[in-house]
Structures are given as structure tokens and as C-alpha cells.
Symmetry: C2
Subunit: 364 residues, 2 copies
């Protein structure tokens, strides 16, 4: 594994869209008891369901700690590879490499990771093992790597169409906990160089209460070039309404890198999901403080799905909006099977199915 | 990765000779300070030299602990893959899988490992992480596995010619610390079934003082079918003489699985190598006891080489016998480059170059 000192753009590499063909998918087995209720037992079952659903149409590798390796191997089906790799938590989207391709070969990009805000408003400390994962994963797959470890970015904070357009949120990328010394233009320049895009669309916000500083992958996702789904609510009294409406306004007036207008599909959110007393009682404290408060609203959104080669794996919340969301995704992805996974136990950890997966583009 | 409940013999799989083509080689980065003097710094340099020499002609993967991962990545060249994997020590020969092939596909065999003798005369405790490595490595390479975890065997205690013959030592395989409830015939049957050989040649002993209970890979190795090198001394007063002579007598009267007589090349040992006060001072204690005594004789032998696709990587000891040993191996392996590595710092850990490597046969 070589560290490459040029940039993907300079070398003709770009980040393909998630709906482009995959070699496989990376996940991380959940373990930390201040993120996952009751020692992670419920979350692991949900992760296994996601891994199994993805593995029906692409290769899945699950990274597990030394302590959880045996358990992961026992719980996961034979066709899924388990490798030992240490981490602080289980968000493959955010700290597995972002892979770029030149249409044949692939390479990884290592962004810096500081637990969504470092000492400013990060969610845990330390994050050193997470921050090493991109490098270890490039090594595991024998892929060379662009190292941008001094620039803080999570994979969940960007979405691309593979045709020159990136969507992100100001709430996240301009947050004080990431790259406060950089201007918006400088940050945009990093995206253009390392994702090899020519246009960055800046939404203002994401999902209400999303503790990642409102990652784009929880509110808006490409389903094809110039076509997106947007998390939505019709309830104007819900604090989510203004956030989603702002995104809609921006997407309505913007065009993509190729000058096309966007088609925006509203993907209506479930009723607000709040964590219960019982669930909170199953979360260990962190630094002597609880990590969740009973009644706290969780950032539930159906947009947080994963597009596998043959499937769209989407979260269900046991809500009346589950089925309409499934139907919309079935319409938008007619050639893929839409596989719902009951994801409350992932949501409690602070993210959802897209957050716990990272695709590896197909390579030759 | 699937666990296969049949046997290699039943499925037409066999262990190929080490001189047959390889896909690659597995090694483990040394770390434990009661095995490797002065915190492993010198041993790591020697391991890196071995890995680099092997990597000139085949793929090398080095397993490193979470703590040593960065250091391994820094010390090893780019063309060597480093993966995180926990272990108790660094003897890939003994607890990486034994791979078997059907001429196209390969599979792993997992033997039980108990640190060369378990609670009877094992060398450290615990050995749980080592014992899990074969399984983890089969998973890493996406290879199915025969699981013989209840039968204690180390890879260093067997050598095969790939044509039906296995050589081993009674001192090791019949030791009380391994499978004391099995008869010699039962042990032989396991070898026949899982290596798919039809003849097992039982040498009595190995190298004097070899704490593995005298592994065959330190005293005798195939260089081609029906042709072996044997560690030798001409000094009849050396306790090694009787051990080597006994091996020679057995090899002289035995034939291999195909009925061929053996050609035996004497590979003369260096002068006895003993550990110094200074070296012992750099070894941490284990269970409050020193692991070596100043003046203790180490089991130095040139037979403990590794046959890579394009090289024979052999130990040097700074002895007058180094060059004659190199010349003999150059004669016996005319199509391979003989690469010596100064191996005193590996020897102090209790083994040598063959002990720290495990080949993966070429597969399609």
C-alpha cells in the first residue's frame, strides 16, 4: 500500500456514485456500551441483518475487535468475511476510506476523523482507532491511498452523483469542530480535488437533532444523476419542516455539474422517534455522564439507506410511514430489491444503515 | 469462510511441498518482551529483512497487533500488506493454517495449538490468541477450513514432499504435552487424513535443546522429492551428533511414499550458539521467572530456512559455517537466490526463519 501525494483529480480518479457497481461493502461490528444499548446485543442483530441483506448482491467484510471477533464470526453468515480490526465505534461510512476510481483501478482517500467535532462538540474521546481505519482498510485491500488526514471529513457528510456533483451541508462542513481555520471556498476546493467534482451544492441543514452536525446522508441522497430523495415532513410545526423546506428551495433553484435541474422526491419521515427510559437504562455512561436523555428525539430518516448492487437496504421504524417510504424507494429503484431492516437499535447509536456501511466501487 | 467437516484426503486435497509455487507468505510482527530481547526492536529488524527478502518473489502479509500496527507499517516496505491481528507471539509456521490444495482451489487446516506443550511443558500461557489465528487467516483469505482444533499440532513439526511423504519427529508428536491420549498410529492417521500423505517417516529427535520438543523443521527439510538436508555436526562429542546420526540412519534405511531412497545432504551447524548475559538482561520475565539463562545453548540450525518462489531465505549466525551452508543451499536450489539474514535476534526468541513464515500455495 503506497501513500500517494498527488490528488485524485490530478490523477483522473473520481468518487463514483453509490448506485454505480460495487466490488463490495465494509461494515464494523458494534460493541461500545455507551453507544449501543444493553451491551450492543440488539444492535449486533440489526447490523447482522444489514450485512446479510447487502451480502446477497456484493462481498461484505465486517471488521470486529479482538474481543468481538468470535461473536461476529458466529453471528454472521459464512459468505461474509470477518477481519480483526480495532475501532472506537462502528461507523464505517464515516471513517472507512472514500474510494475513488479511474474506471479500472481504485484508490482510497483518508480524511481526518475527530468523532464529529473533536474537542469542540465531538461525540466521544478518544477516536484514534477510528482515525486509523481508512489506512488499515486500504492496506487490507491492497489499495493505494491519498492521505488527507489533516482535513476533517466524514463519508456521511458528502453524497456524489459520479458526474461532477457533490451535495453536502453547511451545518456540518462549516462546523467549528472540524476545519475552523479553512474558509468555505477552501473546503469546497478540497472536495473538488479529492472527490473530483466540479460543483458542490451546499444545503444549509440536515435532520433535526442529528448529532453528526447534520450529515447530508440522513436528509438527501442521489437515486440517479439529477434526481434525489429528500427527507420531508408535511407538519409545519415540526422543527424538521423548516430544515427540509430550506433544502428543497436550494435544490429547486440549483442545477448540477452538468447544468441539469434536480427532480426532488419527498421521502416522508416517521413520526418523531424518542428514546425511552428503558432504552436509556441500557446505555453505559461516558465520562460519568449519560449519553442519552429519556424522551430525547432521535434523528430518524428513511434517507439513510444503502444502495447495494442488487438491493436498497432501508431502515424501518415500526411507523405508519414505513410502507409509503418503501413504496417510493421501490419506484425509484425498479431494478433493485428494497430490503427493510428494523433499525431502531441502530438509530439509538446515532445513525442508520447508510452510516454503518461503506461501498467499495467495482475494480478490475 | 465455511468450516468443512470432511477431511482433505476425502476431498482430494493435499499439502503441497514448500518448494511448489506459492501464492504468498504469512508472517506475524514480533512484540512480546519475554520472547524478544529489549522489547523486540532487534527482532523486528530481522523479521523485516526476512519479509522483504520473501516479498521479492511472492506476496507477503504481516499480521500486527493493534499496538504494533503503525510501527509495522512504518518499518515494512509498501509492497507488503500489514493487517491487524492479535496473537500471543509471532510463530506463523506453527499457528497459521496449513494450506492444502486440489491443484486449483486451496483450503486451510486448523490444528489445535497449545504453545508447544500446554500445561505440561508449554512455553507460555495463555495461547488463546495464537490458537485463533488459523481461523482468522482462513477468513482473511476467504478460504474454507478443515477444523482439527482438538488435535494439537504445529506447522513446524511436519515437512512434506507433496508426493505422499511426511517427515516428523517422535520427540515432538509423541510428547506428553500434545496428544497424550492418542497412540502413534492414531497420530499418524491424522497426518495421513489431513495432509493426505501415505507414508510418515518418524525421526526420533530434532535439534539439541530445541524447546519446541524438537520440531522437524529445524533439523531436516525437503529440497525436492526424495532429497533432504539434515542438520549435522562432525563433532562426536557434541550432544547434537547422536541426534543427527539417528536421523541419518533412519533416512538411510527408509524410502519415501513412492519407494524412492533418500539423498541426504549434511548441512553443518554453526558452533554452539549461547545467549549472553547482556541478551538475557533484555528479556522480560514471565510469571516472575527468567525465560533464558545466560550461557544457555540456543537451537541454531541452517535447516530453518524458508523456500520462497524465487529465493531461499536462510539464517546466518556470524559463524564460519555460514558460507559453506549458503554454498550448499545454492547448489541444491540452483534456480533460487539464496538470501541470508543475520538471525541471532530471531533465534533468541526460540526459532528461526522457517518458524516465522507460513506459505500459501498458489491457487487459481
Amino acid at each position: 500500500m503506497k501513500i500517494i501525494s498527488s490528488t485524485p483529480k490530478a490523477d483522473g480518479f473520481y468518487m463514483p456514485a453509490e448506485f454505480a457497481p460495487h466490488y463490495g461493502c465494509i461494515m464494523i461490528f458494534p460493541e461500545r456500551p455507551d453507544s449501543w444499548q444493553f451491551g450492543g446485543y440488539a444492535a449486533r442483530k440489526a447490523f447482522v441483518q444489514v450485512a446479510e441483506a447487502v451480502s446477497r448482491s456484493e462481498r461484505v467484510t465486517v471488521c470486529a475487535s479482538q474481543k468481538q471477533y468470535e461473536n461476529a464470526r458466529r453471528m454472521l453468515p459464512d459468505n461474509i468475511r470477518v477481519v480483526e480490526m480495532s475501532s472506537n465505534d462502528s461507523w464505517a461510512r464515516d471513517y472507512a476510506p472514500t474510494f475513488v476510481t479511474n474506471g479500472g483501478e481504485i484508490r482510497g482517500v483518508n480524511w481526518g476523523f475527530n468523532a464529529w467535532g473533536g474537542l469542540e462538540d465531538g461525540l466521544y474521546f478518544p477516536w484514534d482507532l477510528d482515525n486509523k481505519m481508512a489506512r488499515k482498510l486500504c492496506d487490507l485491500y491492497n489499495k493505494d491511498m491519498y492521505d488527507l488526514g489533516n482535513f476533517i471529513l466524514e463519508g456521511g457528510s458528502i453524497h456524489v452523483d459520479g458526474e461532477g456533483t457533490c451535495i453536502t451541508t453547511e451545518a456540518c462542513l462549516l462546523s467549528r469542530g472540524r476545519n475552523p481555520m479553512l474558509t468555505k471556498a477552501e473546503i469546497e476546493n478540497y472536495l473538488c480535488e479529492y472527490l473530483n467534482v466540479t460543483k458542490v451544492i451546499w444545503l444549509k441543514n440536515g435532520i433535526y437533532g442529528d448529532e453528526t452536525n447534520e450529515h447530508v446522508d440522513n436528509i438527501c441522497a442521489f437515486v440517479k444523476p439529477s434526481e434525489v430523495v429528500l427527507a420531508w415532513t408535511d407538519d409545519e410545526n415540526d422543527p424538521q419542516y423548516a430544515l427540509s423546506k430550506s433544502c428543497l428551495d436550494i435544490l429547486t433553484r440549483e442545477t448540477d455539474a452538468k447544468g441539469r435541474e434536480f427532480t426532488v422526491h419527498k421521502l416522508r419521515c416517521p413520526k418523531p422517534v424518542t428514546i425511552t427510559d428503558e432504552e436509556c437504562s441500557g446505555l453505559d455512561t461516558m465520562n460519568f455522564q449519560p449519553t442519552r436523555t429519556p424522551g430525547e428525539r432521535l434523528a430518524a430518516s428513511y434517507v439513510n439507506f444503502y444502495i447495494a448492487n442488487g438491493a436498497v437496504v432501508m431502515p424501518f421504524f415500526g411507523d405508519r410511514a414505513d410502507e409509503p417510504a418503501r413504496e417510493l424507494l421501490e419506484t425509484l429503484f425498479p431494478e433493485r430489491e428494497v430490503i427493510p431492516v428494523y433499525a431502531r437499535d441502530i438509530l439509538i447509536g446515532g445513525g442508520n444503515i447508510h452510516c454503518i456501511t461503506q461501498q467499495i466501487p467495482l475494480f478490475k
